[in-house]
């Protein structure tokens, strides 16, 4: 995260490869399922031996015995509709919810989050020197309309995508944040409105951030969890 500060985001998980290295982010949408982006995975039709989701800690590489840290193997990956760039990852056993681990809300189907809504992105990825890469960084970032966003991207932003405000100081997600959440506040709850996907340039001053609009795929998400 470029332009973020250390913070708390109990639904954000760190996805770990076979060597135990952090390589992408994800969001807990219930005790057994994590949402992330397809771009982080080589295929949806393979097993995931050795991959895991780590949660319940702010530290990217917590010490052995760190209290409340949970590292749960991934057992299944399900690809979203083709243009969604989303995947759902099943945990081998349910995550234990507590003060440090909780699930994030899903928005209503096809809901458009109002412009100006307070949102935040979170991840353990690249800070480009703007923060501490050993801990979870969070950046506040309000929503802008697609219409507004398309002025910058010349009409390329699609309806299943959404944007957040371009700060002159440069705020945004970067390497190894992909798959993580764009969480927006709704009264006293946080809702998963977007998923971070790779963009050209990170935290580039004046450039809006683009996310996959989760509300377009809530029906698919629920179907996978039910099936």
């Amino acid at each position: 995260i470029v332009g973020g500060v250390p913070g708390n985001s109990p639904w954000t998980v760190s996805l770990r490869d076979r060597k135990g290295n952090h390589f992408c982010g994800g969001s807990l949408v219930n005790s057994k399922w994590v949402i992330s982006t397809k771009q982080c995975f080589s295929s949806c039709y393979v097993d995931l031996p050795g991959y895991s989701a780590m949660m319940g800690t702010l530290f990217k590489d917590p010490k052995e015995g760190e209290p409340d840290r949970q590292t749960i193997p991934l057992t299944k990956i399900v690809c979203g509709p083709s243009e969604s760039q989303l995947v759902m990852l099943q945990l081998e056993y349910p995550a234990q919810f507590n003060e440090r681990v909780s699930q994030i809300c899903l928005p209503p189907e096809r809901y458009i989050v109002p412009e100006g809504t307070d949102c935040e992105i979170a991840g353990w990825g690249e800070t480009k020197g703007t923060g501490d890469e050993t801990v979870l960084n969070v950046a506040q970032i309000p929503v802008i309309s697609n219409k507004e966003c398309n002025k910058y991207f010349r009409g390329r932003v699609r309806e299943n995508e959404m944007c957040t405000n371009p700060f002159q100081g440069g705020v945004g997600a970067c390497e190894r944040d992909y798959g993580g959440p764009l969480a927006c506040q709704n009264s006293d709850c946080w809702v998963l409105e977007g998923v971070i996907i790779p963009m050209r340039r990170c935290g580039h001053p004046g450039q809006p951030n683009i996310f996959i609009r989760v509300s377009v795929y809530v029906d698919w998400i629920k179907k996978v969890m039910e099936m």
Binding site: S9, G20, V78, S84, Q103, E109, Y111, S187
Partner: protein
């Protein structure tokens, strides 16, 4: 620190089942550990293999044969692993081949070997015994001859001749840095024996076979799971953690690999075959040239990894990472993935189209977007259906045609015949000109049980 299992080749989920008339020659020992079972077989002269069963109870069954197509046959058994003595299954030799126990019985120029027990046509002084392996007329090397296994021939004119059995290090050659090597070399270049990959002693390590199924980390054979320059192994010497292995390089790279699998505009899988010209990271930082060691020193020299396409400063994946990557040109960031390169679409061509959300689709496409055949709606294998003709009688759930009984906004779908994929969308696209409509913000949306966060920062978090 040497495990006796090093002498055995394991076949997971297999058992060597004797023929009916041979079953009496099987020695059954209940309750032994795997190591003790191996120890017992090593001590028993005519034990050449053993089945190690874990269910319904732990049982060690010792057999006087390996799979040779006559006395016993290998069967699938998920509760059993078969261990065969390497010397009896190996088709190559180590060193001078004194321990070769294969079944080759012709010499390099095609002469049939004379039986060891016979003195005709060539008289000799070797006498078969239960320990010297001079069985029938198989090539052997009882006198440690540097030419390797040999035999007396049945040709009057030719007393004896080598059988030309290849050395394991030449039997299977390696291309590039040998990541695809699946041969049977189990010693390092300095002659040190390798440690089994499925053991953590004397060296603890992360390369557990079940975590890396694609690397075939079999027994204690040399392998290259981490894109080292050549195959290697951990050694049984506690003081030497790992060493490279000496394996011949293939003189010719197979052409097929060169032509068919490289991509330039997108990448497949982990992108090992990506050969495009993207040369900056997702965050637009220029990549460092592979043939440079500044600002980052690294082991990936283009000439050592000549098959990895390490040209210029292009994003590449020489080591099996999750996607193409590069060393960056900024000192503070050593490497970065190039995830901005598109993944190649692996959907098959759409075979039909649907209107709106496809709820009324009644076509005959029966494949998923990946080309996997659909499961019939009326059966429960491989997937137990929650949606079927009984639950949705109006949905025309016939055969295994793609349908949309639950009004999925993303189009017709089906249960699939792939056990790993419960359901998937079909090779059907929305008819041209139709759009997904989004809804405007609903007034008051209420949530419960989710998205709660304690925003006070407890002192205990400040480490």
């Amino acid at each position: 620190t040497r495990s006796l299992l090093n002498d055995f080749q394991r076949s997971e989920g297999r058992e060597l089942a004797p023929t009916v008339w041979n079953s009496a020659r099987v020695l059954t020992l209940p309750g032994l550990t795997l190591e003790d079972c191996a120890k017992s077989c090593s001590k028993t002269l005519d034990c050449r293999a053993f089945n190690y069963e874990t269910r319904p109870s732990i049982t060690c069954k010792q057999l006087p044969w390996v799979e040779d197509g006559s006395n016993a046959e290998v069967k699938r058994n998920v509760n059993c692993d078969l261990y065969e003595k390497k010397v009896y299954v190996r088709k190559c030799i180590v060193g001078k081949g004194e321990d070769y126990r294969g079944k080759v019985s012709t010499t390099k120029s095609g002469h049939t070997c004379q039986q060891w027990w016979s003195k005709f046509p060539h008289d000799h002084r070797w006498i078969p015994s239960s320990t010297n392996g001079l069985e029938l007329n198989y090539c052997r090397n009882p006198d440690g001859d540097p030419i390797g296994p040999w035999c007396y021939t049945t040709d009057q004119e030719r007393r004896y001749e080598s059988c030309n059995i290849p050395h394991c290090k030449d039997e299977v050659c390696i291309t590039c840095n040998g990541e695809d090597y699946r041969g049977q070399v189990d010693h390092t270049e300095n002659g040190m024996e390798c440690q089994r990959w499925d053991q953590q002693f004397p060296h603890q390590h992360i390369y557990q076979p079940e975590k890396y199924p694609d690397k075939s980390l079999d027994d204690n054979y040399c392998r290259n799971p981490d894109a080292s320059p050549v195959p290697w192994c951990y050694t049984i010497d506690p003081l030497v953690e790992r060493e490279s292995c000496e394996i011949s390089k293939c003189s010719v790279v197979p052409k097929r690999r060169v032509r068919f699998s490289f991509t330039t505009n997108c990448f497949r899988g982990r992108g090992e075959d990506y050969r495009g010209k993207v040369n900056e990271t997702t965050s637009s930082i220029p990549c460092q040239r592979w043939d440079a060691q500044q600002p980052h020193e690294h082991p990936f020299y283009p000439n050592t990894y000549e098959c990895k396409g390490l040209e210029e400063n292009y994003c590449r994946n020489p080591d099996g990472s999750e996607a193409p990557w590069c060393f960056t040109s900024v000192p503070q960031m050593r490497t970065a993935l190039c995830l901005q390169i598109k993944r190649c679409a692996d959907d098959i061509e759409a075979e039909d189209c649907y209107h709106e959300n496809g709820k009324n689709y009644r076509g005959v496409v029966r494949k998923t977007r990946k080309g996997i055949f659909c499961q019939k709606w009326s059966v429960n294998t491989p997937h137990k259906t929650k949606i079927n003709p009984e639950t949705h009688p109006q949905a025309n759930l016939t055969e295994n045609y793609c349908r949309n009984p639950d009004g999925d906004q993303h189009g017709p779908w089906c249960y699939t015949t792939d056990p790993k994929t419960e359901f998937d969308y079909c090779a059907i696209k929305q008819c041209a000109g139709e759009k997904v409509s989004l809804i405007e913000p609903a007034e008051k949306v209420e949530f419960s049980e989710c998205g709660k966060r304690d925003d006070r920062t407890p002192r205990s978090w400040s480490r």
